[in-house]
Amino acid sequence: MSDLLAVQQISKSFRGLKALANVSFEIQPNTIAALIGPNGAGKTTLFNIIAGAQTADRGAIVFDGRRIDGLRPDQICHLGIARTFQIVKTFAGLTVLDNVVIGALGRYARVKEACAHADTILEAVGLGPKRNLPSAMLTLPDRKLLELARALATRPKLLLLDEVLGGLRPTECDRVLELLRGTAEREGISLILIEHVMRAVMALAHTVIVLHHGEVIAQGTPSDIVRHPAVLDCYLGAEIDNNEPGNF
């Protein structure tokens, strides 16, 4: 099967500071991938580059068989990549429903149809009862859910989730994990998650990519990654080297 997304030798510097160096990896269709690494490893920069919010200095990004580097964020969204933001950017002055309608409008010719689609998505993520609240009134976990709902409303083939679980209580976390897994399977969406909650990474991801100082230092299944010496060294830490991923 051909790759859904191929990141090819992406490099990016900010005023001489290397953020990403020769980053390459592929994502297959119907895959859940996790992107992990210490703070400052370049994870969010990589998302920004894939989504078109920033441009790479070198390298190419191929999505669904076509080059997308150099395209604008809205064009990339129309091709089927949606994202959430690490620092949530919900439309604070608008209602929960209107936030999602804006995502859905890209796929529907009429506002009415977009509203209907937005409503089903809000029900699915569990924000249905809050649909008419101003989104500024939501709690942070709810705003993260709203970002997710908004991204799903664009009917993506690939969804980039930037720490969507951060700050959630464990029970909420489990609910969102189930939601992500269910949606990904049902709709055939691939996911790339930036995540620090290792429990979630282990439970959800088919493949894990580890970034450190802007370079991919390891890639593999979750169980391979937790045993990978370089990863233990720089990110997970030696004390968890006890073959029990459940302890994270």
């Binding site: 989504a51 919010a53 604008r72 964020p73 809205d74 969204c77 129309h78 949606a82 994202r83 933001f85 950017k89 919900t90 439309f91 604070a92 002055g93 608008l94 209107d98 309608v101 804006i102 995502g103 409008l105 890209g106 506002v111 908004r150 991204a151 409303a153 664009t154």
Partner: protein, 324 residues
């Protein structure tokens, strides 16, 4: 909006419709001024209230619209209703050029606002030296008998101008209402709240911001056309002056930025209070120049301090005009 609001709105509109039948000439001129600012406020609100683009130089479109129609009439005897379309096109194109350059070079926020001031000032100085349309000495349209109504040439009694302005203000309200519930309205609000997030959701932010500026500029140009024929004289120092731009934006700020009825309520409060104060001072016999500006300043201060959302949201809640 609920049934109470619609009944109230229709009642107020009905009153405005029959106002010239019983009101004094002074009241009619005051009401015309109110409708003028309700209209321009509505136009400015599309840019700032809906799309979050702050323009402090809307006098640019007012002046260019006025001079376009007036010059066509003066030099070529082209009637204002044809000039109407030319003004619409020229002001739209001007807005597109200004905004296109600004957005292309990523001028945003305060710098965008400064740019709009600069363009208006540039036009003011330019028209001061534009002798074909009178330069700083002004352009004067022929005033004929004021009692003979000639709607085709926008010549007639004050009541005619009043109805023209009522029609324009009504159209602006309906247009705003239609726009805000359309795709454009959703996208504009998304851009206003977070341009990055809007782009990530597939919104071509450049294109939709352009649309907001073009609609707003073209609408304001029509206010210029009205202004030219209502006053029959045009001076760059008046039309393009920054105080015109400020007058345009005061209404929506006081009434409520981003709301449909804010610009109307703001315009009503401003015209009535400012002119009321002027009249009062004149009756008492004091000689206080700039009473109007003083009233503007005090109102702006009160609103910013106590009702930053504007009068309309609070008023609507108090009168229970919105569905909860």
């Amino acid at each position: 909006m609920n049934r109470r609001a619609i009944v109230l709105l229709l009642g107020l509109f009905g009153m405005l419709l029959v106002l010239p039948l019983w009101a004094s000439p002074y009241a009619i001129s005051l009401a015309t001024l109110f409708l003028f600012f309700a209209y321009t406020g509505q136009a400015w609100n599309i840019m700032m209230g809906f799309a979050g683009l702050l323009s402090l130089g809307h006098a640019l479109y007012l002046g260019v619209g006025a001079y376009t129609v007036a010059a066509l009439y003066y030099h070529f005897s082209v009637g204002p209703w044809f000039g109407f379309w030319v003004a619409l096109a020229i002001c739209g194109a001007l807005a597109a050029a200004l905004a296109g350059l600004a957005f292309r070079y990523r001028v945003s926020g305060v710098y965008f606002a400064l740019l709009t001031i600069a363009c208006a000032e540039f036009a003011r100085i330019g028209f001061d030296h534009f002798t074909w349309v009178g330069g700083s000495g002004g352009l004067f349209l022929k005033v004929v008998e004021r009692d003979r109504m000639d709607l085709l040439n926008l010549r007639g009694p004050p009541a005619m101008f009043y109805y023209v302005m009522l029609f324009l203000a009504g159209c602006a309200l309906v247009l705003s209402k239609l726009l805000i519930r359309s795709r454009a309205g959703y996208y504009w609000q998304a851009i206003r709240e977070s341009e990055d997030a809007a782009a990530a959701l597939g919104v071509n932010t450049f294109r939709w911001k352009m649309l907001a500026v073009i609609i707003s500029g073209a609408m304001t140009g029509l206010a210029g056309m009205f202004s030219a024929f209502y006053y029959s004289n045009l001076f760059p120092e008046q039309l393009f002056h920054i105080s015109r731009s400020i007058e345009i934006i005061l209404g929506p700020i006081i009434g409520g930025i981003g709301t449909l009825f804010g610009p109307i309520i703001g315009a009503a409060l401003l015209t009535v209070l400012a002119d009321g104060a002027t009249e009062l001072v004149a009756t008492v016999g004091w000689d206080v120049p700039g009473v109007k500006q003083l009233v503007y300043g005090i109102m702006l201060f009160l609103i910013v301090a106590f009702l930053p959302q504007g009068v309309w949201p609070t008023l609507a809640r108090k009168l229970r005009l919105l569905n909860e």
